[in-house]
């Protein structure tokens, strides 16, 4: 029992890193564009399928494949932004963009079903099947690799946000869109790049998710997006650091509940979300109250 709990905690923390990365994309897009990209879940699945195609058909290693999938997802993100998000204006923009993202998700899901069917597939490599012995229990290498990738990407994201001019423009746009425009920031360009970066991280998230989830279908997008939304809301929308803490916390609790109640472990996400919103609508680390209109 003790080792089971220890293993659950370790897997939860390491898996949480990957969720944090996917959620960071979501929360960044929310902060800058005021959009909840509900397509993030299916984009992760799309990233996983891209890795799958590269590794199965072209025999490219999963990690090497990231060099192709990250730019691909970046371009897909740019395309979604230019085609469907940017044209939406006006007072109903918020709900419209949410629905547009939902529609995009539906189309991607349909295309994935068409190309890959509804059978479970999983990503394989030597580091997915091999495991290491740490702290008295076994963990697949991919957990460590995935966590490492997530930490490096998050660090990179932070460096971009806090060390570059572009990052400063992003943060300015997050704080006040109109003021940012007034001081000469090209808000449209910042928005497009942020959306593309938020999408690009799903390439990494998708690869790791495809390897550690033990199998995915086009339908997995729903499961993912509901977890990601729970993490982002728990953290407080727009908080990248909060997303990391919330993701690690949630996946750990889920892994622990999973020991006793495997059927209900997912419910932890939703329950935590409902409880948080009831008592602290802005989330744990949110600056801006979610109830502000």
């Amino acid at each position: 029992m003790g080792s089971q709990i220890g293993q659950a905690i370790a897997a939860g923390i390491l898996g949480g890193g990957v969720y944090a990365l996917m959620a960071a994309g979501l929360t960044l897009v929310f902060g800058v564009l005021d959009i909840i990209n509900v397509a993030q879940g299916i984009l992760v699945v799309l990233g996983a399928y891209l890795s799958y195609v590269l590794s199965v058909h072209l025999h490219i290693d999963l990690l090497v494949g990231l060099l192709i999938t990250i730019p691909s997802m970046f371009i897909i993100g740019l395309a979604i932004y230019w085609l469907f998000i940017r044209p939406l204006r006006g007072s109903e923009r918020t709900s419209m963009t949410l629905l547009a993202c939902f529609a995009v998700a539906l189309i991607i899901e349909g295309v994935l079903y068409r190309e890959f069917g509804s059978n479970y597939v999983s990503l394989n490599a030597w580091y997915v099947s091999d495991s290491v012995h740490i702290f008295g229990f076994y963990l697949a290498d991919i957990y460590l690799i995935g966590f490492g990738l997530a930490v490096v990407s998050m660090a990179l994201l932070y460096a971009i946000l806090y060390q570059t001019t572009f990052g400063r423009a992003v943060r300015a746009t997050m704080q006040n869109r109109v003021a940012a425009q007034l001081v000469g920031i090209d808000v449209n360009r910042v928005s497009a790049l942020t959306f593309a970066i938020g999408t690009a991280v799903t390439a990494i998230g998708g690869m790791v998710y495809g390897a550690i989830s033990g199998g995915f279908t086009p339908n997995s997008g729903y499961d993912l997006i509901s977890r990601l939304l729970a993490i982002v809301i728990l953290a407080g929308m727009g908080s990248v650091g909060g997303a990391l803490a919330a993701a690690v916390f949630m996946t750990t609790v889920e892994a622990l509940v999973d020991i006793w109640q495997p059927d209900w472990s997912v419910a932890v996400f939703y329950l935590a979300m409902v409880i948080i919103l009831t008592f602290r609508p802005r989330g744990l680390f949110g600056r801006q109250a979610a109830r502000a209109q």
């Binding site: 909840i36 419209m96 529609a103 899901e109 409902v274 919103l277 209109q293």
Partner: protein, 361 residues
């Protein structure tokens, strides 16, 4: 301008007459539809479409008027559905007696809506949308795991055995027609009422509305509960018609999306919009499913249609159409002011447009 005033006054009774006539004609078409189209596939379409008219009107009654976008109405739909299945089984009801359960199913959905509303309505905008999605997933998860719903193996609804195959759909059709008519009537009454005005004030600016004395929470919650009541009844009727209840179909994310799309297509916050959206889109979707049973084609087309509506008709067919009517009327009036004696035909058109804009804007 001075000439137009008496003319406008004399037009008003005529406008009301045209409107009433149109409604009666619509009612007559709905009433004779199953007698004319006896093909079961066609009357299947009729039943489902009427159910969606009811659901979309109910959804619009809350979401369209208050501006709170719910992607979780499947919770109420599914709750009503499961209540009907379980109650019909436990109380050994069959045939027409099962229809008596519909108001009860609505009541159960309405009761569920109270705690959900008390939690969800504390937050606004995106967060509200997200929390309704969360409720949806909780409901789906519960349906898959609880004993009362039969889990993922589903439940069968007692079949009305002694109904003849030729007219099997008719009882469902007429009950659905009554439900749809009732939902539209309630939606119209709410829109005209003080309550509806309060809801729309909340949509436009909740804080200002509260400042002006609208008690926002009770108003929003009542609208949600009323909406859930109708949605629950529709869900119960739907499951009785379909004959089986599986968690993934009773709590279906596509259902939520379909209802939202229909509402947006016709025009959010109007009375006629949701009706138009349901009548146009639901048969289209059913037909597509018949043509391509693989599932993904309808996903792709549905998503694409959704994007087209959002990008090109962001405010829906009815408001956009009403704008065109207003423009046409202004153009006609400009012509009339140039020609002192207007032709009889153009007056009739202008009257119809007065009726249309007066009722739908």
């Amino acid at each position: 301008v001075t000439q137009a005033r008496p003319a406008l006054a004399s037009r008003l009774p005529l406008a009301r007459g045209i409107w009433l006539g149109g409604l009666l004609a619509l009612a007559a078409i709905v009433a004779v539809f199953p007698l004319v189209f006896t093909n079961p596939t066609v009357s299947d379409f009729g039943v489902i479409t009427l159910i969606f008219v009811a659901v979309t009107s109910a959804w619009n009654l809350f979401c369209g008027y208050s501006g709170y976008l719910s992607l979780g109405h499947a919770v109420f739909y599914g709750t009503g559905a499961y209540f009907l299945v379980v109650a019909a089984k436990d109380w050994n009801l069959t045939g027409s007696a099962v229809f008596l359960l519909l108001p009860l199913a609505g009541l159960v959905a309405a009761v569920i809506a109270v705690p959900l509303g008390l939690v969800a309505l504390r937050v606004r905008r995106h967060t509200f949308v997200v929390i309704t999605i969360a409720f949806f997933f909780i409901a789906q998860l519960s349906a898959s795991n609880l004993g009362v719903t039969g889990g993922s193996s589903g439940l069968l609804v007692p079949v009305p055995g002694n109904w003849s195959a030729a007219t099997y759909n008719n009882p469902f059709y007429y009950v659905a027609a009554i439900l749809a008519g009732g939902a539209v009537l309630v939606s119209w009454l709410v829109r005209r009422s003080r309550f509806g005005l309060q809801l729309r004030a909340i949509r436009d600016d909740e804080d200002r509305a509260a400042g002006l004395g609208v008690r926002a929470m009770p108003v929003k919650l009542s609208a949600l509960v009323l909406s859930a009541f109708i949605t629950g009844m529709a869900g119960a009727l739907w499951v009785y018609f379909i004959g089986e209840a599986f968690p993934q179909f009773v709590f279906d994310p596509l259902f939520d999306l379909a209802v939202v799309l229909m509402g947006f297509f016709g025009g959010l916050g109007t009375v006629a919009g949701p009706v138009l959206g349901a009548i146009v889109l639901e048969p289209t979707q059913l037909w597509l499913n018949l043509q391509e049973s693989n599932g993904y084609t309808s996903d792709i087309l549905f998503g694409a249609l959704f994007l087209v509506v959002i990008l090109f008709l962001p405010r829906g067919v009815i408001p956009t159409g009403a704008e065109y009517v207003v423009k046409a009327r202004a153009w006609l009036q400009r012509r009339q002011s140039r020609q002192p004696a207007p032709a009889a035909g153009s007056t009739a058109e202008a009257t119809a447009s007065t009726a249309a804009t007066g009722r739908t804007s």
